[in-house]
């Protein structure tokens, strides 16, 4: 557990048909790992975006690796809509499971707690419900006339994210982004890329230990400097907005996307 490996070894753990939980853009996205995963071309992935995604999901969709997409949104933020996502939707390229943020979080909490479902307020009367056989409406057992949605547990094969640092013992600093911990708790294993690996245990300082994910949940860690690029990593570097805008523009067409991705792969090969 918490083994330190190369980016390629980490990426090799993502295999055909797996359910992979991805972090949202402001929580640390493993973009360098995504480039390495794309090189392996695992098919028919089931992405669970926690609770939304952006360029990462759009790239995996554009490369044809996504069989199922479970998310509350895919957006490039200021750069606009996610073009390969919208194109895939139009062409029915993957099974779409539209969600709402707290329902994805509730599914992960069910996974974390080892229960088959979690109740959640809202949702009833939304068109989301009709396309989600994994969400049901039951009667609140403790009240009359109180229908409530239950969402089934989400138990990803893999949780994947990028964080500022890990220690040699496999512990990872996640800070206030506790949904990363929930992803890891719910997942069978967790793959983490980090800006740096430190020698001292992150649990040694009691004041900051609360923001650390213990090695118990972590399958593999790879060092990847600027591993969230072109996205940012809070406290480390900001999003490369020009690059995201360049992607947004090029990815509007299949050819432009292919050209962008070629350069993207080369950018990471140059580093590795």
């Amino acid at each position: 557990m918490g083994e330190i490996v190369s980016l390629q070894q980490l990426a090799a753990q993502v295999r055909d048909g797996m359910t992979v939980a991805l972090s949202s853009d402001n929580a640390g996205v493993a973009m360098a790992a995504t480039a390495a995963i794309l090189a392996n071309r695992p098919k028919n992935l089931h992405l669970v975006c926690v609770p939304i995604s952006g360029m990462q999901a759009d790239m995996l969709i554009g490369e044809g690796l996504v069989g199922t997409l479970e998310t509350s949104a895919v957006t490039l933020g200021e750069a606009g809509g996610a073009p390969r996502f919208a194109d895939g939707i139009r062409n029915g390229a993957f099974k779409m499971m539209d969600a709402t943020c707290p329902a994805i979080l509730a599914g992960l909490v069910a996974g974390q707690k080892g229960v088959p479902f979690m109740p959640i307020r809202g949702i009833i009367g939304s068109d989301l419900l009709a396309s989600r056989p994994d969400w049901k409406v039951i009667d609140n057992p403790f009240a009359e006339n109180d229908p409530i949605v239950v969402v089934s547990a989400i138990r990803p094969d893999i949780a994947l994210f990028h964080a500022p640092e890990a220690d040699r013992f496999g512990n990872v600093r996640i800070g206030r982004q506790t949904e990363l911990a929930a992803m890891a708790y719910a997942a069978k294993t967790t793959l983490v890329t980090v800006e740096r690996i430190v020698e001292t245990s992150l649990l040694a300082d009691e004041r900051s230990a609360a923001g650390v994910l213990p090695a118990l949940y972590v399958g593999a860690i790879a060092e990847a400097k600027h591993g969230a690029w072109p996205l940012g990593l809070a406290g480390e570097y900001v999003t490369d907005s020009a690059e995201v805008a360049r992607y947004a523009k090029m990815a509007r067409s299949a050819d432009g996307f292919a050209a962008y991705m070629k350069g993207f792969a080369q950018a990471f090969e140059a580093v590795a």
Binding site: S24, N26, A27, V50, P51, I52, T71, S72, A73, V74, T75, G77, E78, G81, A82, F85, A86, I89, R90, N91, G92, M96, D98, A99, T100, C101, P102, A103, L105, I120, R121, G122, I123, I124, G125, S126, D127, L128, S131, N145, D146, P147, I148, R176, Q177, T178, E179, L180, A181, A182, A234, G235
Partner: protein, 250 residues
């Protein structure tokens, strides 16, 4: 020194502050500078008037977000009743205040696909005062019936403690009548008219005999907005502040 008159954007921001009057805690999205500006303006004004403190949570911001439990906390705090107001938009908003953040055409193969429902299918049900905010006021956005309901404007037979309070666009301000599940035009912004609003709106709504103009910010409000609030905003939304300042010069 007489101040320049309020810009259109400043009127919108001041209107948002008025719509938030009385709330204690308001959350705004990271990419929602106008709602954030309105919330910060209310906070500043309440402080200068010695009224109750307003907490503003800017989601996705590290500095202006005191949450420590990640993505969970907005939704949990909402369900606990600790968040009084929130903003929602939509690619489509219909006359019953249903909102569509998913797309047009036959779901799931939407012709035009938007990002997705985000937290709307939860927040809209539980936030006591949801302000629908969309600058574009056109028949394409304000439709008779949405193609997809990300979240409905009202509900029956379920637990629902929140819902739409008002709809603010670049042209007008509507109240939502929960009884009749209809919007009612409250005011049109400077330079507009009831007829122009009617022409640009794809759904039916109630109209009073006299449609007033949306009130313009008083001198105190405008001074706070151009002073302290602009400084505060600049930390989260530097680009927006630049356009806001450019507006005034124009």
């Amino acid at each position: 020194m007489s101040a320049l008159p309020a810009t259109s954007r400043e009127i919108l921001i001041a209107t948002i502050a008025d719509l938030l009057d009385g709330v204690r805690t308001v959350a705004v999205g990271a990419s929602s500078p106008m709602p954030a500006a309105g919330a910060m303006l209310l906070r500043a004004r309440n402080e200068s008037r010695g009224r109750e403190r307003v907490r503003v949570i800017v989601l996705g911001s590290r500095q202006h977000n005191f949450f420590t439990n990640g993505s969970f906390e907005l939704f949990d705090a909402t369900a606990q009743g600790r968040i009084d107001a929130f903003f929602l938009g939509g690619g489509q908003i219909d006359g019953q205040a249903n909102i569509n953040l998913v797309g047009t055409g036959d779901y799931p193969a939407s012709t035009v696909r938007w990002p997705g429902s985000f937290g709307s299918a939860f927040m809209y049900y539980l936030i006591p005062r949801v302000i629908l905010f969309r600058e574009e006021h056109s028949p394409r956005v304000l439709v008779d019936k949405v193609d997809f309901v990300s979240a409905p404007g009202s509900s029956e037979g379920i637990h629902r403690s929140g819902g739409p309070h008002a709809l603010l666009t670049g042209l007008a301000l509507f109240d939502f009548d929960k009884e009749n599940k209809r919007f009612a035009l409250r005011s049109v912004h400077r330079g507009g008219s009831a007829a122009a609003v009617r022409a640009a709106t794809g759904f039916d709504y109630d109209v009073p005999d006299e449609v007033p103009f949306t009130p313009e910010p008083d001198a105190e409000t405008l001074s706070l907005l151009r002073g302290r609030v602009t400084t505060e905003l600049a930390e989260c939304y530097p680009q927006f502040v630049e356009t806001m300042v450019a507006d005034r010069a124009a």
